[in-house]
């Protein structure tokens, strides 16, 4: 169900609903963060891990969702742990380290399927200085691993 966009400014992540707008958030893509992340997930190429790491992997945008959640939902996750079910990203240009970016998210779907609540968030990371879209990302989560009815939440 579509409804008028609203800025999410509080509550739990599990309360998010269609039309909620998260952010924008702004930050600088720091080489330290890129190196730590790429080391942890074993992206071993020097372009991502060297002292002068050049570029962020397009998977790092997934963590912008957590930054957006943190900004928009200060009460936290909610009663249950989320489970990520789908990553779907298109990267339009490289994201060099030291780029200032601005990211916004919009909750575009919330639906019940086999007793589980799915939430889809569409996220756009832009270069702050130009507004150029660098990555568009569609994230899908279920709000709880255990199946339950929407009414029970």
């Amino acid at each position: 169900m579509q409804r008028e966009a609203r800025v999410a400014t509080g509550g739990y992540v599990s309360d998010l609903d269609v039309g909620d707008v998260l952010g924008p958030i702004s930050y600088r893509v720091k080489p330290f963060t890129v190196r730590e992340y790429c080391h942890a997930v074993e992206i071993d190429h020097e372009a991502f891990q060297a002292g002068d790491a050049a570029v962020a992997p397009p998977t790092l945008v997934h963590l912008d969702k957590l930054k957006l959640y943190e900004a928009a939902c200060p009460a936290g996750t909610g009663p249950t742990a989320r489970v990520h079910v789908e990553y779907d990203a298109e990267w339009h240009a490289p994201v060099p380290v030291d780029t200032d970016v601005e990211t916004t998210g919009t909750v575009t779907e919330r639906f019940l399927k086999r007793g589980r609540t799915y939430v889809v968030t569409e996220i756009v990371m832009r270069e702050a200085s130009t507004g150029t879209a660098l990555i568009t990302y569609r994230d899908t989560v279920i709000l709880a691993y255990e199946a339950q009815s929407e009414a029970a939440q």
């Binding site: 997930v41 992206i43 190429h45 372009a47 742990a81 990267w91």
Partner: protein
């Protein structure tokens, strides 16, 4: 605007439809799961200091069990990143220049699961000076059960060669 970054493509011959690329099998240890949890906390803080994340269903057995799971499971982004690292193996850093990747987590990955990460080239298209390579992605347990599946497109332009 930030200066454009030149991301070199691998000089090897462009992959052809039907070719399959694989990473060496990797065991999903609890350390690998925790590395991601900590990297997540570090990236969100983005302040130049390493962080410990959690507790999550990826690093805390009791919490995972309280959520209805038999134990900790890997974050899906671990296998997604392994698949992206395979794209970097195939194409070089140019894999991060322009493309798309979609991964779906169709079964949980438990501690000590041995994952086979692969990418199969399904099509190569040429548009002007850009080669667009489409791939089918898969992470599977040793018995062949897929846990993460998806597809990717990597666009390589001549100026990244």
């Amino acid at each position: 605007m930030t200066a454009p970054v030149r991301l070199p493509a691998r000089k090897a011959q462009m992959p052809r439809p039907g070719e399959i690329f694989e990473l060496a099998p990797r065991t999903m240890t609890r350390e690998r799961m925790r590395w991601y949890v900590d990297a997540q906390a570090t990236a969100v803080a983005n302040d130049g200091k390493p962080r410990f994340g959690g507790p999550t269903i990826h690093d805390d057995d009791d919490y995972a069990i309280s959520q209805g799971l038999p134990g900790i499971i890997a974050d899906g982004m671990v296998s997604t990143n392994w698949l992206f690292s395979l794209l970097v193996e195939i194409f070089g850093p140019a894999a991060a220049a322009s493309g798309r990747m979609r991964t779906r987590y169709i079964a949980p990955v438990y501690e000590d699961d041995v994952l086979h990460t692969s990418a199969k080239v399904t099509a190569v298209e040429y548009t002007g000076d850009t080669r667009s390579v489409q791939l089918e992605l898969r992470c599977a347990r040793a018995d062949g059960t897929p846990v993460t599946v998806g597809e990717a497109t990597v666009r390589i332009t001549d100026d990244t060669d």
